[in-house]
Symmetry: C2
């Protein structure tokens, strides 16, 4: 069990992060490609802008989302998954399958 005992903290960290309200849905929305703040807040209707800012900060701190500023007038800002973020897709797919089958 040595291997799994060591793996445990990072495993839990991953689930803890993804268990936060809206986080999974924000990541899922970004799987289609980069989006502007307004795009996401339109798609996820019930989430406040303040919450979205907070989640973006957390996801940036975790290296899952990156913020890209385009040098245009007016300035254009997009949020995009990093490689680490896109790498979550297989796990999220499996989790959704499980939840669909097993959570009423």
């Amino acid at each position: 069990m040595e291997h799994e005992t060591k793996l445990c903290p990072s495993f839990e960290a991953a689930f803890e992060l993804l268990g936060k309200r809206w986080t999974g849905l924000i990541i899922r929305t970004l799987m289609d490609g980069p989006k502007r703040f307004k795009d996401i807040s339109t798609i996820i209707e019930n989430m406040s802008d303040r919450m979205l800012s907070e989640r973006f900060k957390e996801l940036e701190a975790e290296g899952i989302v990156t913020r890209r500023v385009y040098d245009e007038i007016p300035v254009k800002i997009e949020y995009e998954l990093t490689e680490k973020g896109y790498a979550l897709e297989p796990m999220m797919n499996e989790c959704e399958k499980w939840a669909e089958n097993w959570i009423p």
Copy 2:
């Protein structure tokens, strides 16, 4: 996004449950088959017996683990994953892969 917006709460519920300290490791240990309390507390060295009881209660309440009492003397009690519990394996495998690759 209708589909995903609805899926969101159960998705988050799954991650929240699995993000709790020790829960993932307990489930992983039971993937090999039913175990007695003592077997698990021996395998997962740093977890207290009190914590393990608490986690078992939560997992039973979620329908992920079942407690089987054998009518023997002395009484034998085993904990076993339900079908819902075993169904977590693909997601846990993907999560471990992700954590191994991306969490230092």
